[in-house]
Each structure stands twice: as structure tokens, then as C-alpha cells.
């Protein structure tokens, strides 16, 4: 008898533990907080279509929360909206808006703190300060979200997706616009950032700080203050991304500062004032990239050693390369340069005379930036030509010994 009761009890608790709760205007639970309070570990909460004016929602159990037809959770600009402090939480299909702006606290639409195995997907975040803020968490996924801010100034705006001291987080298929930094990683390692579109952000499309061993590929960074900034990090893989339209007096497609042992392959840099701005980066391989119609394709600001530029296309950039030292141990080999005027007598596809990517005018503007005002004057064309014929000022060994005659088609 006792055994039977125990058995029934056991079964019933099991049923309870896998139950689902529905939130709607006419249901038993009329708001999210009530449903959370009534829920058990591993429950599923369905939120029906409607507007729920709530903020400071704390999720401290392993729950699956699913929005049906994107219910609106309106924080009414009062502060943070959802905070997750438990492992294994799933948030799916919510429309979260109106995060409170603060100068002392980083209020976020969704914050994940010290948790693992979280899944945030199909969320729409609007009118936000910080969007998704992951801190000290690991092994999570952030997929198919749409984040649209209304940032105007850097100092009073937040980032779309921010990772801080986190590990192994996948960020895929998100669309992020009009925030300060689209995606910001600080002390985040082994993360993958794939298929995202980050555009019209005030500062950077993607920003790395002290984050090692990360990969980002197939992303598009369009029309940001600057495309991507990778700083003080190592072993980053950057593959098949598009850096486009980062155009303005202080803009660039990609900024590398103190980056070592990384790989930049098959990316497209198009219409940026500066394609890649490099400072103090060593042992980086640039392979199979397209640099099209940039002001400067590559601007090297010094302290860059043992980098390799192989099989890239440099097409119609105002300057292919700016280099500020007489010393060079970077390798340029087998690239296509649209400015190359050499010939190929033995018809093997590579030019017979080396190409020198640094023009004399580039050298002069490095020394005296004001001289840039002579851009496109006849005199400058003349001195560039004479320097090309007999180099005196530009580093003598900075040359592509085997420049390609034809554009390289990457697949």
C-alpha cells in the first residue's frame, strides 16, 4: 500500500516536472512573472500573443520559454528585462523592447549570468540599451535574433550582443543594427560567430578585446562606424566575411591591433576608407582576400613582422599599401594588383618584373599627412612614376616578386 502511494507520488511529480504553463490575458497566469513563480524545473512556458509590461524578470530554473507569435515584453524603459541565472534555459520567439537606459548599470534586454547550455533564439529586440549580455557563462547558442537599436552617440548607447568572460558560445544568423558595437567580445574564448549581418552601428560591427581562439566567418559588416576591430587577441580565424561601405574620415573595414598568429582568408573588403588597418600584428596570414575600391587597401602602421600576403586581389584601390618603415620582413607573393603595368613574356601567368605596392606619394603622406591635399595632381603622378622606375624612398625589398597577370577567382 505504502509502496503504491509512493509510486503514484513519484509518477505524479514526474508529470508535474514536465508540464507546461501558458501565459495569456485570459489564462490563469496573466503575466510572465506569475508563471515563473508557479513553474517547476524543466517546465515549458508558452507565452501567447499580447503585450506584457514587465521588467526585472528573473529566470532561476531550467526552463523553456516559448513565445507564440512574438508576444511583446515591454520593459517601459525601467531597467533590465530578463535575467537568466540557471543552466539550460531556452528563450524562443519573444519580442522584447524598451530597455531602461542607465549611466551606472549596463541594463540588457536579456542577461545570462554564470550559466551554461543556454539557447536564445528568434528573439526580436528593439529600443534597447544592451541587447544580449552574456557574462561568465559557457556553451550557449545565440541564433536567429534580430536586434535593432536606436543609438546615436557612443557614450550613451550599449552593444547588441556582449560576451564577457565567456567560453564556447555560438552566435549565428543574427541581424544587428544601430547599436554601439554590433557584437562585442571581451575575454571570450572559443566562440564562433557565423552568418551574422551587422550594419549601421555607431562604432564597430564586431569588436574583440582580449579574446583568443575565436572564429568568425560568413558575416557581413556593412556601413558601420568601422567594420571589425580585433585587439589584443591571438589565434583568431577570419574567413569569408564581407567588410563593406565603412566610409568616412576615420573609418576602416578591419582594425588589427596587437594580433598574433591569426588567419585572414577569403574575405571581401570593398569601399572602405581603409581596408585593413594593422598595428603591431605578427605572424598573420592574409590569403585569398579581395580588396576592391578602397582608399587604402592595407595600411600598416608599424611593428608588423612576419606577415604573409598571398593570392589576394588588389583592385582599384587609391593606395594598395601604406607602409611606414624602411624595414620589411613581410612577404608579398602571388597577388593580383590592378595597378601592375609589367609584362609576362614567358606566359606563365605571373609578371616578369616585381610589383612595388608602396607608391612614393604614400611614403610622403605618411611623413607629412598634409601633403594628401595634392592627391590626384599631375605632379604627384609624375613623382610616383619616377619612383616606380627607380625606387629611392620606398623600402627596396617590399615587392611582390611574382605578381599575377590576371585576377584570381576565389570560389
Amino acid at each position: 500500500m505504502v509502496l503504491r502511494v509512493l509510486l503514484i507520488l513519484l509518477i505524479s511529480t514526474q508529470i508535474v516536472s514536465a508540464s507546461s504553463i501558458t501565459v495569456c490575458k485570459n489564462c490563469r497566469y496573466k503575466n510572465v512573472k506569475d508563471a515563473l513563480a508557479a513553474s517547476q524545473q524543466n517546465d515549458t512556458i508558452f507565452i501567447q500573443k499580447g503585450v506584457y509590461k514587465e521588467h526585472e524578470i528573473l529566470i532561476d530554473k531550467s526552463l523553456t520559454i516559448i513565445g507564440v507569435d512574438h508576444p511583446v515584453i515591454d520593459g517601459e524603459n525601467k531597467g533590465e528585462i530578463i535575467k537568466i541565472v540557471a543552466d539550460g534555459v531556452t528563450l524562443d520567439g519573444l519580442f522584447i523592447k524598451n530597455v531602461g537606459r542607465s549611466y551606472t548599470k549596463d541594463n540588457a534586454a536579456v542577461r545570462v549570468t554564470q550559466s551554461s547550455s543556454f539557447l536564445l533564439q528568434n528573439l526580436i529586440l528593439e529600443n534597447l540599451f544592451f541587447g544580449i549580455y552574456i557574462e561568465k557563462s559557457h556553451h550557449g547558442k545565440i541564433l536567429h535574433n534580430k536586434i535593432k537599436g536606436n543609438a546615436v552617440e557612443e557614450y550613451n548607447s550599449g552593444n547588441g550582443i556582449q560576451l564577457w568572460y565567456s567560453e564556447s558560445v555560438d552566435i549565428e544568423n543574427n541581424s544587428i543594427s544601430q547599436v554601439r558595437d554590433g557584437i562585442y567580445l571581451e575575454f571570450a574564448t572559443h566562440c564562433t560567430i557565423r552568418n551574422n549581418v551587422s550594419f549601421k552601428n555607431i562604432r564597430y560591427g564586431l569588436h574583440f578585446m582580449f579574446s583568443n581562439n575565436d572564429t568568425y566567418e560568413n558575416n557581413t559588416f556593412d556601413n558601420n562606424g568601422a567594420g571589425v576591430a580585433v585587439m589584443f587577441s591571438k589565434e583568431i580565424l577570419m574567413r569569408k566575411n564581407k567588410f563593406i561601405n565603412n566610409w568616412g574620415a576615420a573609418s576602416y573595414g578591419l582594425l588589427l591591433k596587437e594580433i598574433n598568429d591569426s588567419e585572414i582568408t577569403q574575405n571581401i573588403f570593398q569601399k572602405n576608407t581603409i581596408g585593413i588597418n594593422i598595428e603591431g600584428s605578427n605572424r598573420v596570414t592574409y590569403q585569398g582576400n579581395d580588396f576592391i575600391a578602397n582608399g587604402w587597401a592595407v595600411k600598416s602602421r608599424g611593428a608588423c613582422y612576419t606577415n604573409q600576403f598571398l593570392n589576394n586581389n588588389f583592385i582599384q584601390n587609391s593606395f594598395d599599401l601604406s607602409y611606414n618603415s624602411k624595414l620589411n620582413d613581410n612577404l608579398f607573393e602571388n597577388n593580383y594588383w590592378s595597378d601592375y603595368t609589367g609584362y609576362d613574356l614567358d606566359k606563365d601567368g605571373t609578371g616578369d618584373i616585381p610589383y612595388r605596392p608602396v607608391k612614393l606619394f604614400t611614403y610622403i603622406t605618411n611623413r607629412t599627412p598634409e601633403a594628401i591635399i595634392l592627391l590626384r595632381s599631375l605632379f604627384i603622378d609624375m613623382i610616383n612614376f619616377s619612383e616606380k622606375v627607380s625606387p629611392i624612398f620606398t623600402p627596396e625589398n617590399l615587392e611582390d616578386k611574382n605578381p599575377r597577370m590576371k585576377m584570381i577567382h576565389h570560389d
Binding site: 582608399g295 599627412p369 591635399i373 592627391l375
Partner: protein, 260 residues
């Protein structure tokens, strides 16, 4: 004056050289647009042509016309016509016909390729305006040089030298002084130096209107601040205008004093 202007103008419009000049621009415009279809790119290439070639042609054509029509001028001088009218009439005849060739020669191909649908129409207009102004400037200077030198060869030499100075040598001196004084703040100096050369001034004016201006960085920002606002634009056009007025005044003075 207008009668003489009319004579000179019709004389030139009927002459072969005007047609060659017009044809050259027509070909150039069509070729450029055919090659890159993109009007704003074509505007950049045209800028190089306009800032170099237009002054050269203005100079040479001005001197040539002056020496060629010398006998006609002497005939006119014998008649009771004020000297001012004779020379200014001839000058405007040359300058207007050259500008017309430029405007028609470039305008037609661009219209043909849908200029009005393009948002570079303002850039293009600026290009034509500065081009015409450069024509007026360099023709005026050519007239002065012609008037000052009886010797044809000498006159041609000086005219070419003047063009060379403005198009090339000036920039060389400018660049060297920038490098020599690189320890000092140079923004205002370069602004000042640009104002004093009509070719540089036109180049910078057009450059700042194109999106290539972002390359100019900090210096560009200083220039943008100056040329970007209305008063800067007024100052620069006023300077270009001065470049026409001063040579013309010199022509007038020389002409009224000269013993023919």
C-alpha cells in the same frame, strides 16, 4: 565691344579648331562613359582632364588666336573704336567659344547616359563651372602674355611656361615646403597655398565634393570645413573670379598704353 565679341565668336565657331576641340570632348565623354558606365567614376577621371588639359588648351588657344588675329586687330585699331572694346571683345569671343565647346562636348554624352537620373549631377555641374572658369582664367593670361610680347615664339614660350608652373611646378614647390616645414602646423598654409593656384583650387573643390574626400583625413576635414560651408565656397569662387579680373585689368591697361 559686343560687335567685336560677335565677330570673334562667329569667326571661331566657324573655325576648324573649335570643332576639333568639341569633337575631342565628345569622344572623351562617350569613351569614358562607355568604359565605366558609372557617372561618378567618370567624373573623377574627367577631373584630371579638366584640371590639366583645359588650362593648357585655354593658354595655347588664347595665344594662338591673339597672334593670328593681329592684322585684324591692327585694322580695328585704325577705326574709332575704344581699345578696351577691341581686346575684351576678342577675349570674350575666344573664352566663350572654348567654354561652349567644353560644356557641349561633355554635356551631350553625359545627358545621353542619363545624367538627370544620376545623383552626381551637382558634381558634374561643378566640374563644368570650374572648367569654364579655368578657360576664362588661362585665356585671359594668354592674352596678357601675347600683348606683352611682340615675338611670337617668346610669347608661346612664356604661355607654356606659365601653364607648366601652375600645373606642375607650383605643386612641387608646395610639396617641398610642406616637407621642409613639417614640424609646424600646416593646415592653414596648405589652405592658403591652394587658394593661390587656380588649378589646385579647382582640383580641391571638385575633390571635396566627391566621396574620395574621405581619404583626405584630418587635412581634408580642415578643408571641408572651409570649402564645405557657404562662405568658403564664396571665397573660392571669388578667388577664381579674381584670377579672371586681374589679368583682364592688366590686359586693358597694357592695351591702352601700348604703341602699336
Amino acid at each position: 565691344m559686343f560687335k567685336i565679341l560677335k565677330y570673334s565668336f562667329y569667326d571661331l565657331v566657324r573655325s576648324r579648331w573649335s570643332y576639333v576641340y568639341l569633337l575631342f570632348y565628345l569622344l572623351l565623354g562617350f569613351a569614358l562613359l562607355f568604359l565605366n558606365e558609372n557617372i561618378s567614376k567618370a567624373v573623377i577621371t574627367l577631373m584630371n582632364v579638366i584640371t590639366i588639359l583645359v588650362p593648357l588648351i585655354g593658354t595655347i588657344f588664347g595665344v594662338m588666336y591673339f597672334y593670328n588675329s593681329k592684322e585684324f586687330t591692327e585694322l580695328l585699331l585704325a577705326l574709332p573704336i575704344p581699345r578696351r572694346s577691341i581686346f575684351l571683345g576678342q577675349y570674350f569671343g575666344v573664352a566663350i567659344s572654348l567654354s561652349l565647346s567644353l560644356i557641349l562636348g561633355l554635356g551631350i554624352p553625359f545627358l545621353f547616359y542619363g545624367l538627370f537620373q544620376s545623383d552626381s549631377i551637382v558634381d558634374f555641374l561643378l566640374l563644368l563651372i570650374t572648367g569654364s572658369m579655368l578657360t576664362f582664367i588661362f585665356t585671359a593670361i594668354a592674352f596678357y602674355i601675347g600683348l606683352s610680347n611682340e615675338n611670337k615664339i617668346k610669347g608661346f614660350g612664356y604661355a607654356i611656361l606659365f601653364w607648366l608652373f601652375m600645373a606642375v611646378i607650383y605643386d612641387g614647390i608646395f610639396l617641398i615646403s610642406l616637407i621642409v616645414f613639417e614640424e609646424y602646423p600646416l593646415d592653414n598654409l596648405s589652405l592658403f597655398a591652394t587658394l593661390f593656384n587656380p588649378i589646385d583650387l579647382s582640383r580641391v573643390l571638385i575633390l571635396l565634393k566627391l566621396d574620395i574626400a574621405a581619404l583626405l583625413g584630418y587635412t581634408g576635414a580642415v578643408f571641408q570645413k572651409f570649402f564645405g560651408n557657404f562662405s568658403g565656397l564664396i571665397v573660392s569662387f571669388f578667388t577664381l573670379f579674381l584670377w579672371i579680373i586681374i589679368p583682364l585689368f592688366l590686359v586693358k591697361r597694357k592695351a591702352s598704353k601700348k604703341d602699336f
